[in-house]
């Protein structure tokens, strides 16, 4: 069965669960086999069979699945092969059914993991101890396989208890789900590949050396280590070929003999000993080779997936899910306004200069100048204002006063624009309380066109214009070039972080930026302002709250069985997707 067929099978089986999002997958083994046969036929399978299973509780279902899988495990050599190693190249797509909830949880967990990888990668050197320790922690939190368990005598037998197996399965399936979400644009693909590579590198570096040999063998990478005798013979050549290789390296470490075609970067720069068409690589460089191989495979696979995607996307249940995944911000969502009502409207202008990230400053400026903002800008800025603590009344007042100065009279405002502001605050329609946009969302979705002010200036502004703007905001020339360098390297959030550091005159921002409201809060923390949240309450000198701060999380509607806060976010953002047309 081809790759496309396999993927579609998973999702068709996941999708065909009737109207109840928590109905479970096919109720019989026979159906499973049929599903794997012909996906077109499987669509016609009687839905009533699925719902007749009844609504088992999540826990019971999981236990059921667990046991049935356990049976499958024993004596199932194919799965053994697939999960016999804790690290894999993700060459084979998964061939099984999972429930919709597992689908979501897996995907979200992996996304969290990748986001952690991204953040840590920005803050720490990728091979440093601190980085490894922090990533270790996240791995165990999210139940992904990371450490090879203390080895048994027989390494080949998966020293995997069911839990290790579960972890590897999760790793496997979640990777493939995210492929669907991240194959669609160049930006997404690049991001996904980068994080998966970093993840792979981290796990590969963790492998003890005999497991590396196993891994290479598994994956048909014919890289063999050279014997001690050969090492002795080549000692001189090996040492003079590479800056990093000394006599003791040759003695102590493994050297691999690799066809030169698989190590082009090392050949090109002449950083390695080449003889008879083979390069001799010290262990630490094998990682690079394997990573390059991984990158190539993943890149090709994503391109393939993108082409197959329309077929999967035709299923309406999956489309919003996948869309959401690629834009999901998996962290604090700033819907909990800790500082609600602490900001007065008079403070907004000075705050925009001091504590707004560049995107919001730009939007605010645009609003003040033309007394108008288009829809994209209203959403981005309006939600941001909600996030910094404006109440609905304040927001209405703010927007009205500005729009009225323009071409809109008070009546028209109340008719046309007030509704959407109330909508933002969850007071209209479905009453979902929208969350302010994260940086990811601003950067990746809805790029601005002519006349728009929204988006991320580091991503969407022409560098010349960006430079001028920064100059007008009195950023130092050296600071500007640093920012432009980061922009060139497509590190937009880092560029914004640098902007933060320069405008606050500090060396290190001390946080990893992924949300405009985070920028605001951090800035206020530094400046001791009213928008900082709970901590600053003690220092507060200015305006009394018009409403008491609301500490309890908003009760968001949505399927209650998904435990995380994020689950709630998933649902409400899904709705917003339908709205944002």
């Amino acid at each position: 069965m081809d790759y496309l067929g396999l993927i579609i099978n998973i999702f068709v089986s996941v999708a065909k669960t009737g109207n109840d999002r928590h109905a479970f997958t096919s109720s019989s083994r026979a159906e499973i086999r049929t599903l794997c046969g012909n996906w077109r036929e499987s669509r016609q399978i009687d839905r009533s069979k699925a719902s007749s299973l009844g609504k088992l509780s999540e826990a019971r279902y999981r236990t059921m699945q667990f046991y049935s899988r356990r049976k499958k495990l024993i004596g199932n050599s194919q799965t053994e092969q697939l999960y016999g190693h804790c690290l894999q190249f993700y060459g084979q797509p998964p061939i099984e059914n999972i429930s919709l909830s597992e689908f979501e949880t897996f995907a979200v967990d992996r996304l969290k993991l990748l986001k952690t990888v991204e953040n840590l990668g920005v803050s720490y050197v990728k091979t440093s101890e601190l980085y490894t320790k922090k990533l270790d922690a996240e791995f165990s939190n999210l139940n992904f396989p990371y450490k090879i368990e203390a080895s048994t005598k027989d390494d080949w037998k998966p020293q995997t208890g069911p839990s290790e197996y579960e972890k590897r399965r999760k790793d496997h399936i979640s990777h493939f789900i995210l492929r669907l979400a991240y194959c669609q644009t160049e930006d997404l693909r690049r991001w996904f590949i980068q994080q998966e590579i970093d993840l792979f590198r981290y796990r590969f570096n963790d492998l003890p050396s005999k497991n590396i040999g196993q891994f290479l063998q598994y994956n048909n990478l014919h890289y063999h280590t050279i014997s001690i005798d050969e090492k002795k013979k080549l000692m001189d050549k090996l040492v003079t070929s590479s800056f990093a290789v000394s006599g003791s390296t040759v003695d102590g470490k493994d050297f691999y003999k690799v066809p030169f075609q698989d190590a082009l970067d090392l050949v090109r720069t002449r950083k390695v000993y080449l003889n008879g068409g083979y390069v001799y690589i010290p262990h630490q460089d094998i990682v690079t080779i394997v990573l390059n191989d991984f990158r190539t495979r993943l890149s090709k696979a994503l391109a393939l997936t993108a082409r197959s995607l329309p077929a999967v996307q035709s299923d309406e249940r999956l489309q919003p899910l996948l869309n959401h995944l690629s834009h999901a911000y998996v962290g604090q969502d700033y819907s909990i306004q800790k500082s609600i009502g602490k900001i007065s409207l008079e403070q907004i202008d000075p705050l925009s200069a001091k504590s707004y990230p560049l995107c919001m400053r730009q939007l605010h400026r645009g609003l003040r100048d033309s007394h108008h903002l288009r829809h994209g800008g209203r959403m981005q800025y309006g939600l941001f204002l909600k996030g910094i603590g404006l109440t609905l009344d304040q927001a209405l007042q703010f927007w009205r006063s500005e729009f009225v100065k323009g071409k809109v009279d008070a009546d028209k405002f109340d008719k046309a624009y007030a509704y959407s502001i109330r909508h933002m605050f969850g007071k209209e329609g479905k009453r979902t309380d929208y969350t302010p946009y994260s940086c990811m969302k601003v950067i990746l979705s809805n790029p601005p066109s002519q006349g728009d002010q929204h988006g991320c200036p580091f991503r969407h502004s022409d560098p010349e214009l960006l430079k001028q703007k920064l100059q007008s905001y009195k950023v130092s020339p050296s600071g500007i070039s640093q920012i432009l360098e980061l922009v060139k390297g497509m590190h937009y959030q880092l560029a914004c972080q640098k902007y933060f550091e320069l405008t606050h005159s500090i060396e290190d921002s001390g946080f990893s930026l992924n949300h405009p409201n985070q920028y605001f809060m951090e800035s206020q923390k530094l400046l001791g302002g009213p928008g900082a949240g709970v901590k600053v309450e003690v220092k507060r000198e200015d305006n009394p709250a018009t409403k008491p701060p609301n500490p309890s999380p908003h009760q968001t509607p949505g399927p209650g069985n998904l435990p995380q806060e994020v689950a709630a976010e998933i649902t409400e953002d899904l709705d917003s997707f339908f709205q944002d047309a």
Partner: protein
């Protein structure tokens, strides 16, 4: 006398003769067919012809040796280039869905051109060459051939005189033909040591550690340096030349040498001093100073055009093609006699056409008797014809090259079948 007077205007008369009686079609086809191992390898190969009046036609392809012969005899190309083996027949590329017509394989090629050395040779410039600067080609061939063989493991490298001012290398190993663009570029980069254009003064920069490849290459250069550079090019003789060398040295060394050169005029001695100064510096300073090596490499190390080597679909002048400006045939170079190769002894088309008209010698009449039984008259005559000319020894060289490749192929087949026998 080895060179009949060649005049470009006579090409229209000479070419038909050349293509009908001298061009080694049989060997040519044997080469590009590569033992018929891959289906349609010859048929999907692109050729391009430059015809009279600079008319250039691409995407020529042929089904058989015969077709190739007929076409070439009909068109009488001034120049022949060989391109890649494509996914479809090049002469039908317009019928193929756009995007599907792709270059799949080609020999790994290198082009060394004397004009790239103009900044370091004083005897000639531009398209001119002379026995003095030809040594640069000798050095280039030695260095590159060694690297391709020893470092990369390629065994079938055909070196060909380009006909005027350089040499080409065709690496015909199967692995070489299958290399990707990235791989070709990596190989070319590995082999590149001289970097920079007119604005760069110091074109070779060495630092610790010195890679074995560089050490090996230096060994070759050292064999020729004294004769070629110090004596032939006189790089430490005239003030002008000396200044150029000094420009490559660190400030303090330069000063000391200027002083020293006031009195010492002997180039060999001057060089020895530069050498020992470099060695001294290496003993004392923390960083490696390799300026004497850098000088040798800048003046002698091969300069190749990476772009020629990179592209899978790049077209390169074919062996046995005529060079329109000089009339010389692009002949294979015998590496066993490399130091004796003289580009000015390479036969021109006018020479070999003239040689065709010489009456038969007795030896040849005996040969004729032997060959009576072999093939049809036409073939026999052809086999006789080039043998009568100065082209003969070059075709023989080519034959040897092809024989070696055939031998290799057989070896591979045996090896594979041997493996099969062990694992029933």
């Amino acid at each position: 006398m080895t060179t009949a007077d060649y005049d470009q205007a006579s090409l229209p008369d000479l070419l038909p003769l050349y293509y009908r009686r001298l061009f080694p079609f049989s060997q040519y086809h044997r080469w590009l067919n590569y033992g018929g191992v891959t289906k349609n390898y010859f048929q999907n190969r692109e050729f391009s012809f430059t015809l009279k009046d600079d008319i250039y036609v691409r995407y020529q392809s042929f089904s058989t040796q015969n077709e190739l012969e007929k076409e070439m005899q009909k068109m009488n190309p001034y120049k022949i280039d060989i391109g890649a083996v494509y996914s479809h027949r090049p002469n039908q590329h317009n019928t193929v869905k756009s995007g599907s017509f792709q270059a799949l394989e080609k020999e790994l090629v290198f082009d060394i051109d004397m004009t790239d050395y103009d900044d370091v040779r004083s005897c000639c410039s531009g398209a001119d060459i002379c026995p003095k600067c030809w040594t640069l080609m000798t050095i280039a061939i030695r260095i590159l051939d060694r690297a391709l063989r020893d470092d990369f493991g390629f065994r079938h490298c055909l070196w060909v005189y380009s006909g005027r001012r350089g040499v080409h290398c065709w690496v015909c190993d199967e692995a070489a033909r299958k290399l990707s663009v990235a791989a070709r570029s990596a190989v070319a980069e590995y082999l590149s040591l001289v970097k920079g254009g007119d604005e760069t003064v110091r074109k070779v920069v060495l630092s610790d550690p010195i890679h074995p490849f560089i050490t090996e290459s230096l060994t070759v250069v050292e064999n020729y340096f004294s004769q070629y550079a110090l004596l032939g090019q006189d790089i430490l003789g005239s003030k002008e030349a000396v200044d150029k060398v000094l420009a490559l040295l660190p400030e303090d060394v330069r000063k000391k040498l200027l002083q020293y050169f006031q009195t010492e005029k002997n180039p060999e001695k001057r060089w020895d001093t530069i050498r020992s100064m470099a060695q001294d510096k290496r003993m004392t300073a923390k960083k490696g100073h390799y300026f004497e090596m850098e000088i040798m490499l800048q003046y002698c190390y091969p300069r190749l055009d990476v772009n020629v080597s990179k592209g899978v679909n790049h077209l390169l002048k074919s062996p046995f093609s005529v060079h329109p400006k000089t009339g010389r045939i692009s002949v294979p170079i015998d590496l066993r006699e490399l130091d004796r190769f003289d580009p000015f002894e390479v036969p021109t088309i006018s020479l070999i056409c003239e040689e065709l008209d010489q009456p038969k010698t007795e030896e040849e009449q005996d040969d004729n008797m032997e060959n009576e039984n072999k093939k049809e008259a036409g073939e026999r005559r052809k086999m006789r014809d080039y043998k009568r000319t100065s082209l003969a020894k070059y075709v023989k060289l080519f034959d040897n090259f092809l024989e070696e490749m055939a031998h290799s192929r057989k070896g591979e087949v045996l090896k594979n079948s041997g493996e099969c026998n062990l694992n029933p």
